[in-house]
């Protein structure tokens, strides 16, 4: 069905993208003119202009991290931001809460972290222990890094709050990671058939209740089963090219599935990576994974010293596949300290709530809330079992559409909230309708 539809969809949706008469003139007026190069973002222009007018030292004092933030974000975000500008310093590192915005259950805060004495803040900085009081779940991302001042600007997203307008909250960071080394997809060079045929398999039982984490389709199946077998640890030591923080500690077929066990021996916190099986045609098979440790008697216990990767692949087909390692990552620096600031959250445009009745099988949605930050679905059902994929679009009165392509979920006592976030603030009073997997909820 796709052939003509794509062309039609592109030409229809991008109907306003045409060669303007200005652009046409530029093209046709060649060869006597050189191409007019578009200027880089205005922040560069502004910075150059300021340089002309001011001395370097004066400029250094004038350009604050808050100013830098404003040069990164869009005017729409800026209009909704509440300036905070509070800083704290510890261990030679300065943190500043630059600004925040909040609706009834979510806060977005922008902070800067600057190393005043060493090189512990770099582009790969990853907040490790951090929180905003009264909130439940957190994510963060670096949105800007300035190598000269060793300053990172980070967007921090906190969810799970209740009636946040006017609340006094404390944002704290206790530790972060940096100096990241990450290795993308590479061939381990392991001859799977040879290794497996030469290894005698021993297994140990694993109670899924003590597993510290995992992922993949089989993880849920194993969790329901309760007890499974994993490979006995440290029966082999197969190095991975260039990787010194993890190795293969056992490999073999267990209960008809290929198990690849890795031991994470590095000192780094949050070291991680995965494997992929690929054949000559490029078909890829992804594993499920289980995290655990062992006690001195070799019994599986809670922990993350080992990750067992499990592939659903027939033993007879193993010779067709190569084992690739992917995203093996370690961080060279783990920095601790106490950086915190307390501030009052001010309300943005008020949320708009409507009662709805939508049935997505295991999930029933009975309320929808729209705020400048995004759309929250509230309902009943167990989200941990769901594989439901929901698309949310917000259509405005002027016809423009917001696509909400990131979401966070909270689930407690059979009730859930599923928040879909917009990258630009939504003007709630101008929302016409919300589409949830194509089902339209009218707000006006």
């Amino acid at each position: 069905m796709m052939n003509r539809t794509i062309k039609k969809a592109i030409d229809t949706r991008l109907a306003d993208i045409k060669i303007s008469s200005e652009l046409e003139n530029k093209i046709i007026d060649y060869p006597n003119k050189t191409r007019s190069t578009r200027k880089r973002p205005s922040v560069v222009v502004v910075a150059v202009a300021i340089l002309v007018m001011l001395s370097v030292s004066v400029m250094a004092a004038a350009i604050t991290n808050f100013d830098k933030l404003l040069s990164i974000i869009s005017p729409q975000v800026e209009q909704n931001l509440q300036p905070i500008k509070l800083s704290s310093e510890d261990n030679g590192i300065k943190m500043e809460v630059l600004a925040a915005m909040s609706d009834s259950n979510t806060t977005i805060a922008y902070i800067s972290i600057q190393d005043l004495t060493a090189d512990r803040v770099d582009e790969s900085i990853n907040l490790y222990n951090y929180s905003i009081s009264t909130m439940e779940s957190f994510t963060s991302e670096v949105i800007s890094y300035d190598a000269a001042s060793k300053t990172a600007i980070i967007k921090l997203l906190a969810n799970g709050g209740k009636k946040l307008e006017g609340k006094i909250v404390t944002l704290r960071v206790d530790s972060f990671l940096s100096n990241k080394q990450s290795y993308k997809l590479f061939d381990t060079g392991i001859d799977l058939k040879k290794v497996i045929s030469s290894t005698t398999i021993s297994t140990i039982p694993l109670d899924m209740k003590i597993v510290s984490g995992g992922s993949g389709d089989l993880f849920e199946e194993f969790r329901k089963r309760g007890n499974i077998n994993v490979l006995k640890t440290d029966q082999t030591n197969i190095a991975l090219p260039n990787i010194n923080f993890a190795h293969i500690s056992n490999i073999g077929i267990v209960d008809g599935k290929l198990h690849v066990q890795t031991k994470w021996a590095g000192k780094g916190i949050d070291d991680h990576g995965t494997f992929i099986l690929a054949n000559d045609s490029g078909d890829k098979t992804y594993p499920s994974s289980i995290y655990f440790s062992i006690d001195k008697n070799g019994k599986a216990i809670y922990g993350r010293d080992y990750i067992e990767f499990i592939f659903e692949i027939k033993e007879t087909e193993i010779s067709k596949y190569k084992l690739f390692a992917d995203h093996f990552t370690t961080y060279g620096h783990y920095t601790e300290g106490k950086w915190q600031n307390t501030f009052k959250l001010e309300a943005m445009e008020k949320d708009k709530e409507v009662d709805i009745d939508m049935d997505f099988g295991e999930l029933k949605v009975n309320k929808l809330s729209v705020s400048p930050i995004g759309v929250t679905l509230i309902g009943t059902g167990n989200m941990s079992d769901t594989t439901l994929d929901i698309s949310v679009l917000v259509k405005m009165l002027n016809g423009s559409v917001y696509t909400l392509n990131s979401s966070v979920r909270n689930n407690e006592n059979g009730k859930f909230t599923w928040k879909f976030m917009s990258l630009e603030p939504i003007k709630v009073m101008n929302v016409k309708e919300v589409s949830i997997n194509g089902k339209v909820v009218e707000l006006k």
Partner: protein
Amino acid sequence: MNHVSVPNRKKTPDMNKLVKVYGDSLLRMCFLYLKDLHMAEDAVQDTFLKVYKSYMNFKGDCEEKTWITRISINVCKNYLRSSWWKRIDEAAVLENITVGNSTDTLQDEALLLEIMKLSPKYKEVILLFYYQSMKIREIAMILNIPENTVSVRLLRAREILKKKLKGWYYDE
């Protein structure tokens, strides 16, 4: 789209005609590839300048459209190599483009968003095959890769789109 005939070429190309025939579709393709309208305009301008400069070197061993599209794709690839292209958000980019009068706005939005999110190697085959209506052989020539590779990439790109758009854009 009509192809412009190659035989009896003049020393200098008819830029008015080329821009009229290829301009809009190249601009839309560059926009989806680069995810930035301003840079797409620059890319199209660069493309036509290269066309002008190298027109005499065009041997006519492929369709004119194929030749121009190859230049355009290469210009886009060069732009993508710049570190300036980090952290582009497709949804935000698309939101800045005025919506047309289609009744299928939401579906179009979802489809374009997923195309923009594809990695360049999948995006380019989708755009060339479905949007520029090129044959596998022509795409292989443009991208300088074997025809088999084009077919495999097309298959995988379709699978990605199908998975992302299941129950939304696809009927099945």
